[in-house]
Every structure is written in structure tokens, then in C-alpha cells.
């Protein structure tokens, strides 16, 4: 499906009396000339992979580079002890975002949404709301179509790649996508959903992509948590009737502009930011100090 702006999707959805998610599903089915049921099934499978990634991440496996692992498990224990600052949806979202990101870092099966590096944000936000508010599966699947539609507009107007736009393009986009979907799941109007997306993305603008040793581990795993929490706060503001002064389409445009202006050292090259700190460099040296690889040597 081709989608130029969120405004365009809101207009079509309102004309047809649909949510953004349902409308995106209908448009996608029409565009592909397939029944809606088929698209629902494809996305149902992806939702299930998101759920299994949470389970996998909670097994506490170490990442490939060895920098992360076991944090989701640790946070879950803290959350379950009742002492955590975050309760309810927020605490669960933190747990799930950590779990999926850690599953990704340890070569687990995930849904890139929109990317592998930001794969924890959407499951963190949507699965926690789904459980806490007992939202039916089909609604969440439609929510994933709403998130996908926002991602399409971002891909068209800005970028979804850290190498092109910094982390704002990955975790920031994921936060905006998750916020739009979650607002609708909780009964918000299409306009409120767009405000939530705008508020979430505004909070992530300028975020650089500076992975230590170039790996999807530090700070990526915890940035997924930041983005998930950012998205939930934005949803809450939008549901309270608070609006974004700058509409989502324009925030996306600004994100693309900022991404172009970011120096290369802060766009996934591991040359700047956290990657260039003394500790970041020492960790990189520790991981990549070894020699070349043949059968039997390093496995």
C-alpha cells in the first residue's frame, strides 16, 4: 500500500467509520488483492512470534557479543516483588521490551518492527496493554496494521534505518508506531492516536545511533525500554485529551531532516557517542581482539 501521510489515513478512516488499524488492513488487502482474513493470519503469526520472543528473552541467554543478557529476568523479579517503581502496564512493558531486545541480541527469533534493533518496543507496549486490559487478539492484530501504516509514512518521509537517521529512526519510529496503535486499543480516536504518535516521536528526536562495538547490544537493549516507556506516556497524555502542537506528519518530517543533519559518526558507524567512550572502546577491543576464524578454532 502506498501512504503519503497520516493525515490522509485519518481522513479515509473517518470517511469509512473505521479505526486507523482496521482501515490500514482494509487498504492493504485491497492493494494486494487478497482477502482480509489472509492478512490477519499473517499478522497473527507475527504477534505470536512477538509473544514467543518475550518467553525466549526471559530465559536469560547471553548475547552474541556478551554485553547483555539476563536483564529482563532480573527486572521481572523486581517487578514481581512489588517493589518496582513502575506498576501495571508500565512495569510489564519494561519487562517485555527488555526481553524481546535481549532475545534479539542472543540470536533469538523476533519480528523486526520496524527493525531488529528496535524489535522490543512494539511488543513491550502492545503485549502489556493486551494482557492488562484483556484486549482481544484481533484488535491487537489491527493495531499492528496501524503501527505498520505509521511505519510506511516514516519510510516515505524520513527513514527507519539507524545508519541513515540515527536511533530516532529506529527506536523513535517504533515508539511512534506503538503509541498510535496503543491509543486505538484503549479506545482513543484516530486523531488522539496521531497525537500520541507525535508526542512519542518528539520525545525521541535527535537520538543518535552509537552502538558499542557496532553491535545491537549496548545501548540498544535499554533504549528499547526508553522508547516503550516514552510511547506509553504519550498514549496516556493523548487519552487525557492533550494534543501535540506539531502534527505527526510534520514531526516525522523533522525527524528525517534531523537524521540527514546528524554526523556520520552518530549513525551506526560505532565511531562516536557511547561507542567512542573509553569503556565503549575497551569493550570493542575485548570482543574483536581475536583472530580469524576457521572450522574448529573458534566454535
Amino acid at each position: 500500500m502506498y501512504l503519503e501521510s497520516i493525515e490522509q489515513l485519518i481522513k479515509i478512516a473517518k470517511e469509512n467509520g473505521q479505526t486507523l488499524g482496521r482501515m490500514a488492513l482494509i487498504l492493504e488487502a485491497k492493494d494486494r488483492e487478497v482477502p482480509e482474513e489472509q492478512l490477519l493470519n499473517i499478522m497473527r503469526e507475527r504477534l505470536q512470534v512477538m509473544q514467543s520472543a518475550v518467553t525466549e528473552g526471559l530465559q536469560g541467554n547471553r548475547s552474541v557479543g556478551g554485553l547483555v543478557g539476563g536483564q529482563a529476568l532480573k527486572y521481572q523479579a523486581w517487578f514481581n516483588s512489588g517493589k518496582s517503581l513502575a506498576s501495571g502496564v508500565f512495569g510489564k512493558a519494561i519487562t517485555y521490551a527488555l526481553a524481546v531486545s535481549e532475545a534479539n541480541a542472543s540470536m533469538g527469533l523476533i519480528v523486526a518492527a520496524p527493525t531488529a534493533g528496535s524489535a522490543g518496543v512494539i511488543p513491550g507496549v502492545l503485549l502489556s496493554i493486551m494482557e492488562e486490559y484483556e484486549i482481544p487478539e484481533e484488535k491487537v492484530i489491527e493495531g499492528l496494521y496501524a503501527a505498520g501504516a505509521v511505519g510506511l509514512v516514516i519510510a516515505y518521509k524520513a527513514s527507519l534505518s539507524g545508519a541513515q537517521g540515527g536511533c530516532q529512526a529506529e527506536c523513535g519510529s517504533a515508539a511512534a508506531m506503538a503509541a498510535v496503535a496503543a491509543t486505538e486499543l484503549l479506545g482513543g480516536s484516530p486523531e488522539q492516536a496521531a497525537h500520541a504518535g507525535a508526542i512519542a516521536l518528539k520525545g525521541m528526536l535527535g537520538l543518535v545511533c552509537d552502538p558499542v562495538a557496532g553491535l545491537v547490544e549496548v545501548p540498544c537493549v535499554k533504549r528499547n525500554v526508553s522508547a516503550a516507556v516514552q510511547a506509553l506516556a504519550a498514549v496516556d497524555l493523548a487519552l487525557a485529551g492533550i494534543t501535540s502542537a506539531i502534527p505527526l506528519d510534520e514531526v516525522i518530517g523533522a525527524m528525517g531532516e534531523i537524521g540527514r543533519e546528524l554526523p556520520l559518526s552518530l549513525k551506526e558507524t560505532a565511531q562516536g557517542g557511547l561507542a567512542a567512550t573509553p569503556t565503549g572502546k575497551a569493550l570493542a577491543q575485548k570482543i574483536f581482539g581475536g583472530k580469524e576464524e576457521k572450522n574448529g578454532e573458534n566454535n
Partner: protein, 218 residues
């Protein structure tokens, strides 16, 4: 960009370019070789060279050479599986002038054939194959792709394309590359519909056609 590529693909982490894309490069290598690989020398350039271990790029390329999909959990264990299946591999650094940062050059040996494939992982799991057996190509593996080595002589292209047309298959893109005039050349034909076995056999029987293989959309 496609909505199902945005909430997707389903893949083994941690990186769409360094893991999922790398699996696809390996799969193309296997398809070009056309048989079980027994020996592989894999040269990594740029970011692939610097970060392959931490991203599992090595396991991903080997998994692709073994025919695994980007969502196959066996990617994690592929180095061990390669050993069990008798695939000897070696990863070596290389500097390729002006190549994309995520480029791999693969030299592959099977029981009866040898293949050389260069390709890069261009983001989001997408790949671009830039060289097959010394012929410059541009293959994205998004369409069914037919690759036909042939003798560089008048009519070779016309014969192949007419067989394709006869079977109701539409050509989306195509290119022809040769190393020198009158020697062997390579046709790369991307189609909208899959190329069925019958069409493929008919093409391979044409005079002047010296082989051929199909890369399905990956």
C-alpha cells in the same frame, strides 16, 4: 517499502543487515553452486569484516550456504552443523575498493562444481548480488531470477526470451554481461511469475545455452 516488511520480517536476530541479509547472501551462493557445498572461503569487507563475530554474520552466511531460511533457529548452531555435514569453511578479511560496507565475496566448492559470488547486504535484510563467477550482475532476489550462461552469439537472447514469453511469463528486468566478445556470456532475467521446471528445462536445451540456475525470491 511494504507494510509487511515494516512489521516484519520474522527473523533470527540481532541485525537485519548483518544477520538476515547475510543468510540471504549465503543462500544465493548455494543456489549458484547448485549442489551441497563442501568447501567455502568467505571474504568479508568493511563493516562485515569488523563486526561479523558479534553479529553472528559468520553463522548467518554458513546457515545460508546450508540452505537455511532467515527465521531458522538452526542459524545459531550453523557452524557446528557445517562441521557435521562436512562443509569446511574459512572467513578471511578483504578490502574491496568502492564496495558497500557490508560486502561478502564467497568462493565455493561442491563435489563437481565451483562458484564465486559477491554480494552485499544493503539494509533491512535486502541484498544485492554484484558478481557471479566473474560476471558483473545486479540481482536483488526479490523476483524469481533466471541466470543463463550462454555462448555470446546472435540470437541467444531472443531464443531464451521467446521460450519465456511462450510460457506466459513476463520479464520484469533483464541484463546481459560478457567477459569478452564471442566467449561465454551471462543472461540475468528477473520475472514477475515463477519460472516452472518445464520452462527451465526447455531453456537449458536451447543451442548455445551452457547451463543455468534459478534464484527464487528470498
Amino acid at each position: 517499502m511494504d507494510l509487511l516488511d515494516i512489521i516484519g520480517p520474522v527473523m533470527i536476530g540481532p541485525s537485519s543487515s548483518h544477520t538476515a541479509g547475510a543468510v540471504r547472501l549465503g543462500r544465493v551462493g548455494r543456489l549458484v553452486l547448485g549442489e551441497e557445498p563442501k568447501k567455502a572461503k568467505i571474504f568479508l569487507h568493511g563493516s562485515f569484516k569488523e563486526t561479523y563475530r558479534g553479529h553472528g554474520t559468520d553463522r548467518a552466511i554458513i546457515a545460508g550456504l546450508l540452505g537455511f531460511d532467515t527465521s531458522d533457529p538452526r542459524i545459531r548452531e550453523s557452524l557446528k552443523i557445517a562441521k557435521e555435514l562436512g562443509l569446511n569453511y574459512e572467513f578471511l578479511p578483504i578490502d574491496l575498493p568502492e564496495a558497500h560496507p557490508n560486502t561478502a565475496y564467497m568462493e565455493l566448492w561442491g563435489d563437481t562444481s565451483i562458484a564465486r559470488v559477491t554480494g552485499c547486504s544493503i539494509g533491512g535484510g535486502a541484498v544485492l548480488i554484484t558478481d557471479i563467477n566473474g560476471y558483473p550482475v545486479r540481482i536483488t532476489a526479490k523476483y524469481p531470477t533466471l541466470i543463463v550462461p550462454h555462448n555470446d552469439q546472435p540470437g541467444a537472447v531472443a531464443k531464451v526470451t521467446s521460450v519465456i514469453a511462450w510460457h506466459g511469463i513476463n520479464i520484469a528486468q533483464m541484463s546481459v554481461a560478457r567477459q569478452k566478445k564471442g566467449a561465454e556470456a551471462l543472461m540475468v532475467i528477473e520475472t514477475d511469475q515463477p519460472i516452472d521446471e518445464e520452462t527451465f528445462k526447455e531453456i537449458k536445451r536451447l543451442p548455445g545455452i551452457t547451463g543455468g540456475f534459478i534464484i527464487p525470491p528470498l
